[in-house]
Amino acid sequence: MAAVYFTQNVLGAFLLDEEGKRLAESLAPFKTNEIIDYLIDLEEGKVTQQAREVLEKAKSMGFNEVVVETIEDGKIASSLGLTPRVDVRASVISRFRERLQDLAVELGLCSSKDEFYTKLHEISLELSRRKLRKEAQKRDLLAIQAIRAIDDIDKTINLYVSRLREWYSIHFPELDELVKDHHDYARIVYELGDRENISYEKLKRLGFSEELSTKISEASRKSIGADLSDFDIEYIKTLAGIILDLYELRETLEGYIDAVMKEVSPNVTAIVGSKLGARLLSLAGSLENLAKLPASTIQVLGAEKALFRALRTGGKPPKHGVIFQYPAIHKSPRWQRGKIARALAAKLAIAAKIDFYTGRFVGDKLVKELQERIEEVKKLYAKPPAKK
């Protein structure tokens, strides 16, 4: 009887003949949340349902011996009553591996090779994060410190920019009114410095609009500000420079929070993004605390003052705390907000629990359910309630 080959990969379990033709197959669940569990089972040498199906089929087709690539697969085969033969360089299997991406399309798991790779990329990231999570020590606290550092930076940037505006206004007072954006203001001072150095072309090169570039360069020519030495300008530029450094640090920390949150709290992050997620952790104090809070408390996290006032005075309790930053809440009409906030808080409570207790990724599902509920709210309460 001809040899038959058994192999498992990200697409599922397969039985192949000597030509590499598929004799039997059982596909893996090709969705991020489920496939991670599947791949972890494979890595741990567990007998997956897929392997079982395919090997039972082999038996029913009358095969007693299967060729496998690894001792691990061999064990699985023998646990199901087959005789394995291990051949690490089995060319049938390596040729099969070469066609993985085509097969994914052929089997209808993806619509194109590119989609397969995009999915595989996502899977490899999430799988690595899941494993890293076990190594993580207090990483929720790190995300909390990072988001608080961002808040500190925001506070001080304002202070520094006010100082910079006052200082540079000795030289070019008209700029203060013309450039309201703090970051842009600091960039102009840092990059161009002396008012005489400001020109339409240079402003355009810094990415400003034609209109603004014209206005600023004209104003610089007619400025009533004092002429300053290069020496003096240099120090004003130093302050502008550190402001730009702070903006850069802020961006760096946002990237960091993103990386940490995806690892430490992937489901909360999937729902509200890494920054709002980190704020929730910060308000709760830790992921463990957040996981233990009821949805009703999560809903008003960050609105403690308003809540206590309501309790004291018997007034209306707040409908939402920091989750107000979630676009579907603050962009919705007033009368829908409470309902959306409740739905969001409920999902967040579930997400935090999963993040803390299991670490499985079910973000796709949670997001989908939340979207459905929000659409439902928008449909059911499209009109403002009648005044009582």
């Binding site: 498992q8 890595e43 360089r89 591996r97 990329h121 490899s124 890293l132």
Partner: protein
Amino acid sequence: MSEVVAIKPHEKYYGVYVVELEDGSMRLATKNLVPGHRVYGERLFRYENVEYREWNMYRSKLAGALANGLSEQPIRESDSILYLGVATGTTASHISDIIGLKGRIYGVEFAPRVMREFVALADVRKNLYPILADARKPQLYRHVVELVDGVYADIAQPEQASVVADNADYFLKHNGYLLLAIKARSIDVTKEPSEVYRREIETLKNRGFEIVDVVHLEPYDKDHAMVYARFKR
């Protein structure tokens, strides 16, 4: 900092660029796949509206090997590569620049402390596929790695040639290339580097590799040599 005078494709090496600076010095560079982003503090250069990243010979052994005249740079656009010991991704990021978005690097690294950084990099560079695993046990990640065009290995372990060959058996195409950084002294401190190279190279030959070139990495790295080989299944 000196300004850029010109940036040209390297006359000998595919995907590599030569940056000429105002002070007369030359630097290696690759086109930045993700403009504006640095990976390990390297300098960014803009020239004729393209952004390049300096490829530091002291930080990346592959750059060191090229600077020392390796006979060829075998990595091509769209290649898929298995990278054993990818660490934080310094060298991998330049290979990522060369293979572009149609290529893939499966980056295997065992140390979580280091892997974390590579995961963050892979989140931005879509052609990096992180694999938190032990390179000595390829069977544990065989489910997620395809058959690749090349293997790059920089693993400071005894018997690195065997580890690489085990991986090649699973994942490397016929005629696929191998770039192996041998950290000679970490294998056997009692023997002269040259002997260690010989023994490791012997192992590679026995396991199906044809050696194309070997260059020492001094002065960029005192303990390593780079082996360039082809795999015959």
